[in-house]
């Protein structure tokens, strides 16, 4: 049976309009699908992120409770850190400890025929005065001092004491 269109021909849309309409419908469907996918993705992300934040907050609360339970330990740690930083600062500022070591070294190489008569130790220098009855001992002693690994040795004074019958030498040793 043949199709009979009783509508007037001017009410029928033209061919290009029908083609454009079909294309627009396809675009509309694609847009709708993309929109739905993006919406689902956004809603899913929102839900997952919210759950993860809630879980993280719960874990934080638990950790905070555990840390609060260790408050005494924390106080001790802060005290130790504070004290150590101050002690380190004091020790690094320097004192005469090393110069005391210098005096000990000098005593260890001093022959029994010689004696230390005067010592002045500061944080930068060890001034040691020695007395020797013989120039031979003095020479040996000075050679040993020079052979020691001191960076700077000064001969501050050298004198012969007739009344005491010997030589008096003042050395300034710097580390």
């Amino acid at each position: 049976m043949r199709d009979i269109n009783l509508l007037p021909q001017e009410l029928k849309p033209k061919g290009y309009a029908i083609k454009l309409s079909r294309s627009l419908r396809k675009i509309g469907v694609v847009f709708l699908v993309v929109f739905l996918i993006v919406s689902i993705f956004a809603a899913g992300s929102f839900a997952i992120l919210s759950i993860r934040i809630r879980d993280s907050n719960n874990r934080q609360s638990k950790l905070k409770t555990e840390i609060r339970a260790q408050e005494q330990t924390e106080q001790k740690l802060i005290l130790v850190q504070d004290r150590i930083s101050k002690v380190t600062s004091i020790l690094s500022s320097g004192d005469s400890r090393e110069e005391v070591g210098v005096l000990k070294d000098v005593i260890s190489i001093l022959p029994p025929e010689m004696a230390i008569t005067k010592v002045n130790l500061t944080d930068s220098k060890a001034e040691i005065t020695v007395f020797a009855t013989s120039s031979l001992y003095l020479t040996r002693f000075l050679a040993q001092v020079i052979n020691s690994n001191y960076q700077n040795i000064e001969l501050v004074s050298f004198s012969y004491r007739d009344a005491l019958g010997g030589y008096e030498v003042e050395l300034g040793i710097m580390l």
Partner: protein, 231 residues
């Protein structure tokens, strides 16, 4: 009216209008979704990142505390004795007396000088000058080396030794230190530093320092108390 719309909406337009409206609506909804959803999701992401950071800081803090508790918590006592919060002059004096006695030095005189506070530091210090007599220099040296390793922390500022006939006269200037205790704990979300290797070495060093002898006086029994101390 109907005629007018009929004239305006031609059959071509009628066919195009519905899919066009659908596209416009979807685009509008899409833009709205992006405009509203994107800032919320980025906010949530930054919240999650921040939350993760705080969580990691708290975990690290807890680990540091657990480690300190198992290994080094006793060191707080020695660190406090080495650098107390009050003037440790009497403790140092007892150390000087004890060490001079053990090195056969005659402790003849002592003087406590004024308290010094550096403007840029919380550490306060005081000078103590002590005089000794001995038969030779070696005991003085041993005493000085010993004083370098006593608690509370004592530094040797200046030493003068002079021989007077058979007597060795020594004058030593020490400096003692103290500092107020920390009053606040860092905020929970701030990272807590572990003791560094250098700190642990310093701690081991000061742990070997000779501690002062403390005496605990037991309380007297009630019946031995005198009712009238003037009689």
């Amino acid at each position: 009216m109907f005629r007018l719309s009929k004239k305006l909406l031609s059959p071509d337009l009628k066919v195009l209008i519905i899919p066009s409206l659908v596209i416009v609506c979807v685009v509008f909804l899409f833009l709205t979704l992006i405009k509203m959803g994107y800032p919320r999701i980025t906010t949530l992401l930054s919240q999650l990142e921040e939350s993760g950071k705080i969580e990691r800081t708290l975990e690290e803090r807890l680990n540091v505390l657990k480690e300190f508790n198992t290994g080094l918590s006793k060191s707080s006592d020695i660190s406090f004795i080495v650098l107390p919060d009050k003037n440790p002059g009497t403790w140092t004096l007892s150390q000087i007396k004890e060490l001079s006695l053990s090195n056969s030095l005659l402790f003849t005189d002592t003087e406590f000088k004024k308290v010094i506070t550096a403007s840029d530091s919380a550490v306060r210090k005081m000078d103590i000058t002590a005089d000794f007599e001995s038969g030779s220099i070696s005991p003085v040296v041993e005493f000085l080396l010993g004083m370098g390793e006593v608690a509370p922390l004592t530094t040797i500022e200046e030493v003068e030794i002079e021989r007077d006939k058979e007597v060795i006269n020594s004058k030593v200037k020490f400096t003692i230190y103290w500092a107020a205790l920390p009053t606040t704990l860092p905020s929970l979300t701030q990272p807590l530093k572990q003791l560094s290797i250098t700190d642990q070495e310093t701690l081991t060093k000061i742990d070997s320092y000779k501690k002062p002898q403390f005496t605990v006086l037991p309380p007297q029994p009630a019946e031995s108390l005198r009712v009238n101390p003037f009689n």
